[in-house]
């Protein structure tokens, strides 16, 4: 029997089998609710080019990035071998020779076969010798199978080319295959049968790989690019709105997720970069962002997997998340973990499934507008101990409307910082005022805890109060308030110019409006708050202030985009520590202790609370002081007074 019909039959059968193995996913995506991800094609393409073409996120881990780049580029070069292998037999007479198939293409194929093997070697070294912890929970079989298949594909193509050279073909463009040919001569293998056997091994391995892909993480070869293309282009700080067509606020089953959320599940490469940066995972809580995705993915393929929320994904898993966004920042294929978690939390909240502590906090927020259960009238009490009155923005126009936030207003551990900020603003001659008891919790973490209805109530109340004032800009103390006012309130028509107090202070310093008596250059470290840094890009203003205050900054290994969450976000601050082996805040303090600095600078009221508690718990409060950026700034006038 001629090879052509055999190859046709095998190839078509393999393609049919591949489609059949993908059927559930194809059906799921086709039936999923819509998502608007088709706008701004050039910006989307640019992102794909950077993510894949430049391997931007992949190269953050150099070894993984390089080995992936080797395999990735070699794959494209060696794909010409595949085209030739199939083309020449499916369509007799087809050949790449006219465009250089026997010359420069052959040379590239030879060289990249070696590079592919080098990449493969590095991959094997990484996975079986270095064994990074982020692979824990990933499929070991998937990895092993692809190593074997790549080895088969590359070695068979070299043997095939070598055998052809033994049989008399020109080997001058194929230095590596010529070496293989020498080896074959030594082994005295008959050239033609060896070539044919190698050919069919090559074909078999490629088709086996094709059939294998739909059930494996190697789907990412096809899905990574579209998943990155259809990524979310909204600001990072905007939580997903509840689609109007949805009956309840939350998501209780996989089919309710839109097609992009489902495509995310299929695109996961199980690389575990999300798991490696997750504060909940590090603290021993039952959440790995990777397993969250792969568990949901497996449920997508298995109809009998039971309920999604509380079944496939445990309630404790959902509540463990601090919404720090480190996972999404790390993901090379732009998987969106947080929208899924928030949507499933929305379902739990709607069903009334909340822990007693969270219930208390949410009830207080419903009743009083703050999580502490304190009367609204006491919100501005911190101003009493200032030596000057603070303007009521509700009754007189101000330049800057200061949205103070719950912790900065009520928590005695933070009130001193709040007063210091007020003093700095006054010293710089800023015309500012506050909302007094009309301010409510911004709802940032309420929304991320899944309480969409309460968030709407809080947001509407704040938007009404803010709109009733006359002002130019809003400044917030809390990065969480910053995020809600800047990014979330847009969903309710509240578009304001909002900045963090560190940005305002940096602006005042740059304009020479603060007369700072610089410190002696002591070395400090700085913790990037998630909602200031990763969410809103506020990395530099706090650092500028630290330097302006006369200190030397020594960043921690995990800084800026890679900052490690204190553990308070997304409603975690209203929940217990059950199941926590090491609090994220203590993990972070240990990191800072390794630097040998005496001051740990923060720029978020919750950080002041969390890290003060952490240094107390670790018994290091005397050697590592937790100071807000504002507390570092020493005014000359004040110091001489």
């Amino acid at each position: 029997m001629s090879e052509t019909p055999v190859l046709w039959i095998v190839t078509l059968a393999a393609i049919a089998l591949t489609v059949w193995r993908s059927r559930r996913y194809i059906v799921a995506l086709a039936q999923a609710p819509g998502a608007n991800r088709f706008d701004q094609p050039w910006r989307r393409l640019e992102g794909v080019a950077i993510a894949i073409g430049l391997h931007r996120k992949l190269l953050r881990k150099p070894l993984s990035g390089i080995l992936h780049a080797l395999i990735f580029v070699s794959f494209f070069v060696l794909f010409t071998v595949t085209i030739e292998a199939f083309g020449s037999r499916l369509f007799p007479g087809f050949s790449l020779a006219p465009i250089g198939g026997d010359s420069w293409i052959a040379l590239l194929q030879d060289l990249f076969a070696v590079l592919m093997l080098a990449g493969l070697g590095l991959a094997v070294y990484q996975r079986y010798v270095l064994k990074p912890a982020r692979f824990k929970g990933s499929s070991g079989a998937d990895a092993a199978i692809i190593y074997v298949l790549i080895l088969l594909i590359v070695s068979s193509l070299l043997i095939e080319a070598g055998a052809r050279i033994v049989g008399g073909a020109d080997g001058s463009w194929r230095p590596v295959a010529s070496l293989v040919a020498d080896l074959l001569r030594v082994l005295d293998l008959p050239a033609h049968p060896a070539e044919r056997i190698a050919y069919w091994i090559h074909i078999g391995a490629i088709l086996a790989f094709l059939v294998y892909i739909p059930g494996s993480k190697h789907r990412h070869m096809f899905l990574a690019a579209p998943n990155i293309y259809f990524r979310n282009l909204e600001p990072a700080g905007t939580a997903p709105a509840v689609p109007s067509e949805r009956e309840n606020p939350g998501v209780a089953s996989l089919v309710q997720f839109d097609w992009k959320q489902q495509l995310d599940l299929l695109s996961c490469t199980e690389c575990g970069r999300c798991q490696a940066v997750c504060p909940a995972y590090a603290s021993g809580l039952p959440l790995s962002p990777k397993m969250l995705i792969t568990d949901m993915r497996d449920a997508l393929a298995n109809e009998a997997s039971g309920p999604l929320v509380g079944g496939v994904i445990a309630e404790e898993t959902l509540w463990a998340c601090t919404t720090c966004r480190a996972c999404m920042e790390a993901c090379p294929v732009e998987i969106e973990h947080l929208p899924k978690i928030i949507d499933m939390r929305r379902h739990l909240v709607d069903e009334g499934h909340v822990s007693p502590m969270l219930q208390d906090a949410l009830s207080n927020l419903t009743r009083l507008g703050n999580s502490m259960g304190k009367p609204s009238k006491m919100r501005a009490r911190w101003t009493k101990e200032l030596g000057f009155p603070v303007k009521d923005a509700r009754s007189e126009p101000v330049d800057v409307l200061w949205f103070v936030g719950d912790y900065a207003s009520y928590d005695p551990r933070v009130q001193d910082v709040t007063r210091k900020v007020a003093e700095l603003l006054t010293a710089a001659g800023v015309d500012f005022g506050i909302l007094f008891d009309a301010e409510r919790n911004s709802g940032n973490d309420v929304r991320r805890a899944g309480e969409e209805g309460l968030f709407e109530t809080l947001a509407q109340s704040n938007i009404d109060a803010i709109r009733a004032c006359s002002f130019n800009r809003i400044v917030t103390t809390d990065p969480h308030s910053l995020n809600a006012l800047k990014n979330d309130y847009r969903h309710f028509g509240g578009e304001f110019e909002v900045l963090h107090y560190t940005a305002l202070l940096a602006e005042l310093v740059a304009a020479g409006r603060l007369d700072i008596g610089p410190a002696d250059g002591a070395t400090v470290t700085y913790h990037d708050p998630c909602y200031l840094g990763r969410y809103n890009g506020g990395f530099d203003a706090p650092r500028d202030l630290i330097r302006a205050a006369g200190y030397t900054l020594h960043d921690m290994p995990r800084c800026r985009e890679n900052s490690f969450c204190c553990g308070a976000g997304g409603g975690r601050i209203w929940q217990g520590d059950d199941g926590v082996k090491e609090r994220p805040s203590e993990n972070r303090i240990r990191e800072a202790l390794g630097l040998g600095v005496g001051i740990f600078v923060v720029a978020c009221p919750k950080d002041k609370v969390m890290y003060t508690a952490a240094t107390d718990a670790l018994g290091v409060a005397s050697s590592l002081r937790i100071l807000d950026v504002a507390e570092l700034i020493n005014l000359r006038e004040a110091s001489s007074a």
Partner: protein, 254 residues
């Protein structure tokens, strides 16, 4: 079965209490009001009974912020919400409101009246016996579990020291709830927003027919008793001052 639940709004104890100028009441103008915690449990018990055996729940609220709490009651499962127009601005006097509760129980043809066993303005739990007496119905206070058995009501009553008694009483009845069988449920903001559209009925104040039994002569804020004195952070100063105090009190001959 029809259940009438009484929801009383009381001053938020986290706020700062100030007395009125005549010293005979609390200045309510700047206070936040919240649902009496025991009444919250009474509401939960009513909803649990409705879910277990089928019932219609009528919630009646008294005091500032009634509408908000009634919306919450509807979001949790109450079928009807009524704001009782009690005497403005005063404390909620059980002896005074009992008449209105009784009138509502009659007009709504209630089989069961549930209210919290006590409130900060009814520390001795008088609303339940007043209402029971006026209606001529049996009443039990301090329940920790309610259930319907045939046509009777089973009431478990906390007796302290780990002892509980279970009564079986015929309906209609009045029960003072200490704790619901399950902790009050959380009701989400989206359900609250949905419930904010429900119409809230009004009920007029009905006199109970009692003579006024007593007048408040004076109220007093808790007195400052034996406050501590902070000696500061500086060890030398602290030692010096401590020695001085001890000497002054005659503990040490310096």
């Amino acid at each position: 079965m029809k259940i009438l639940v009484v929801l009383r709004m009381i001053p938020d104890s986290a706020g700062e209490l100030e007395l009125t100028s005549d010293g005979r009441g609390i200045d309510r103008e700047w206070l936040d009001f919240q649902l009496n915690d025991f009444d919250d449990h009474a509401l939960e018990e009513a909803i649990l009974l409705k879910e277990a055996s089928g019932a219609t729940v009528v919630a009646v609220a008294i005091g500032e912020g009634s509408n908000r709490v009634l919306q919450m009651a509807v979001a949790r499962g109450a079928d009807e919400a009524i704001a009782l127009d009690a005497q403005a601005d005063g404390m909620i006097d059980s002896r005074a409101i009992a008449g209105s509760i009784v009138a509502l129980a009659r007009s709504k043809a209630a089989d069961l009246v549930l209210c919290g066993v006590q409130s900060t303005e009814d520390l001795f739990g008088q609303l339940v016996p007043y209402a029971g007496a006026l209606l001529g119905w049996p009443h039990v206070s301090g329940s920790s579990r309610l259930g319907i058995e045939g046509s009777a009501l089973r009431v478990t009553q906390e007796r302290g020291g780990g002892i509980a008694a279970t009564y079986e009483i015929a309906l209609p009845a009045v029960i003072g709830v200490q704790t619901a069988s399950k902790a009050p449920r959380y009701v989400s903001g989206s359900k609250l927003r949905e419930a904010s559209k429900t119409t809230i009925g009004k009920a007029r104040f009905e006199p109970a027919g009692f003579e006024r039994s007593a007048e408040i002569v004076a109220l007093r804020l808790p007195g400052q008793r034996g406050t501590g004195e902070h000696l500061g952070d500086n060890p030398e100063n602290v030692a010096e001052r401590l020695a001085g105090i001890l000497a002054a009190k005659g503990f040490a001959g310096v």
